[in-house]
């Protein structure tokens, strides 16, 4: 029973307000050979609606293979809030959350891990490093295990 992300139809939910960043991230993940579907959201509200479903309980996505790529600086809410809500939701708490943001503030990093984030990556400003980091993230995804559906 193989639960490797790249070998299962795991959906990547990308919450990133900057469309340019979203595009660059997608391109570089694809370059790493990750072909999973990517659903982009540019605002926190849309993403919350999608993750928690119409009833807002999250039951709709229970056991669905998801991976969340989360930016912390969103126009309508902070990524930290989304992280907190996902990780405290009975049905969504096992979804791996990768925080991918420009903030490298030590307090912020600590807070995210305290809330249960699985990986925290700072976007390098230099594009070569950025592309490289995303490609490595893609490679990481290809060997990463996600929880099996119950």
């Amino acid at each position: 029973m193989n639960s490797k992300l790249s070998e299962r139809p795991v959906e990547i939910v990308m919450i990133e307000d900057d469309e340019g960043h979203a595009r660059l991230i997608e391109k570089n993940i694809r370059r790493a050979g990750v072909n999973n579907p990517i659903t982009p959201f540019t605002s926190g509200t849309e993403a919350i609606n999608y993750l928690f479903g119409a009833d807002g309980t999250g039951i709709a996505n229970r056991g669905k293979p998801l991976l969340v790529l989360l930016d912390l600086n969103l126009p309508d809410m902070t990524g930290v809030e989304i992280l907190g809500r996902v990780k405290t939701n009975e049905h969504l708490k096992r979804i791996p959350v990768v925080v991918l943001t420009t903030t490298d503030d030590a307090v912020e990093i600590q807070r995210c891990y305290d809330l249960g984030c699985n990986v925290y990556i700072t976007k390098p400003v230099n594009y070569e490093n950025f592309a490289n980091a995303i490609r490595q993230l893609g490679l990481f995804f290809s060997v990463m295990q996600v929880p099996a559906p119950e």
Binding site: N73, T102, Y127, F130
Partner: protein
Amino acid sequence: MTLANADTATKPKKEKRSATVNLQPMLLGVGFALLIAISVATVLLVNRASSDAGLLAQTLVVQNKLSEILLNVRRAESSQRGYLFTNRESYLDDYRVAEPAVKEGVAELLALTKGNQKRQAVLVRTRSVVEAKFAEMARTIELNKTGNREAARAEVLGDAGRDIMNSLRDTVSGAVSDEGRLAAERSDSSRQTNTLLLIVTLVGAALIILIGAISIALVRRNARRAEVARQELAGTNANLERIVEFRTADLTEANEEVQRFAYIVSHDLRSPLVNIMGFTSELEALRKEIFDKVQTLTAEIAVLNGQADAAVAAASPETAAGVAPDAATEQLGKDFDEAIRFIKTSIGNMDRLINAVLKLSREGRRQFHPQTVDMQALLEQIAGTVNHRVTELEAGLRVEKLPVVQSDPLALEQIFANLIDNALKYRRSDVPLTITVRGRTTGTHVIYDVEDNGRGIDAGDHQRVFELFRRSGRQDRPGEGIGLAHVRALVRRLGGTMALESELGKGSTFTVTLPKRWSVESRSAA
């Protein structure tokens, strides 16, 4: 605002208060003057009363003497008559006693009333009458002694003796009644003087009591005002403290706002920068594909035009890339590369600047933890980290004895590492570099100098070098112009000041003045 208002509000009151303060010594002076006046008046009046009493006594004495004189003359007369009548010597005893007594009395009175013309005149008259009387009496006694009794009797029977006597009696009684009048006058004047004395004393006492009452009222009013002023002052003080607190909070908030602003701006600038850089790289990647395509198309056009070697080129498109591109395409490629290069360089610069701002804002937000710092050890540690560069440059780095300070060690390390790094960076190529770090203490502060013999800073740039992104002199060393701005920001946050003494081509001395004891609470003041 509130402060200024309070100040102007208290001013007029102050003036009023000083007026009352001036009134009091004046009142005291008036009181003293009054006392002196009363004393003088009393002394004068008492003197007058005593001289009045003396004059009155003198008048009584004069009256008395005059009566005595008259009595003695009568005694002598009756003694003379007794003698003449009885012809016995023993009757003359009284006469003999009376005569010198009368003469003596007249002389005494003359001496006593010297200076009073009227009295003297009366007395001189009295004396002549008395002398005439005694002469008459002496004559009759003499006649009788010589046995001439009839002549003596005739003398006595004659009215001469009686006339003299009457005249004397009139004179004396006139003088006595004169003296009586005088005595009445004098005793009147004496009574008046005494009344005046009493009035002066009473009025004086009343005035002094009045002044005392006014003084007491003034003192009480002043005390009341002082109490009001004290309360006002206490109120102002409390207000002032509140204002200071308020301003401090304002400043702290503004400072934090600036820090937040810098942080957010640098963050938000970073995001589009990633895009610009990312898509520039994408463009670069596309460039190869586009130019390869252009190459291929050029080759194809050449084939279609039926030029030489076209068949070979068309048969294998892979070799098209190997074919040297024509001049126009090459120029296009160069222009493209140049544009990309400029974009990338600018992005790199912008990236460095944003990182610098981010670093500064992060430093600004860092909490300081003051503790006693052994500056000697700290500087030697910094010297250790730059040791290889010092050796490489054959430079000298000397750390003299440095005083300890109570401050944030990390901030201090950054400050001095930056200053020493600058000294190493901006050296002169013609002289071996020497850097000296020395320290001294004043009452409340510690002062550290970092001195070098480097290229120095132009006097016009002494302020500028501390500004963000500003640099001085030849721009032949890497850097963003952030080091000294950072150093100054840190020193200020530590409650200290930064100074620079430098001469172009001679060297620079950076002076860091820090409070001996710095605590987190004192930060707001910095």
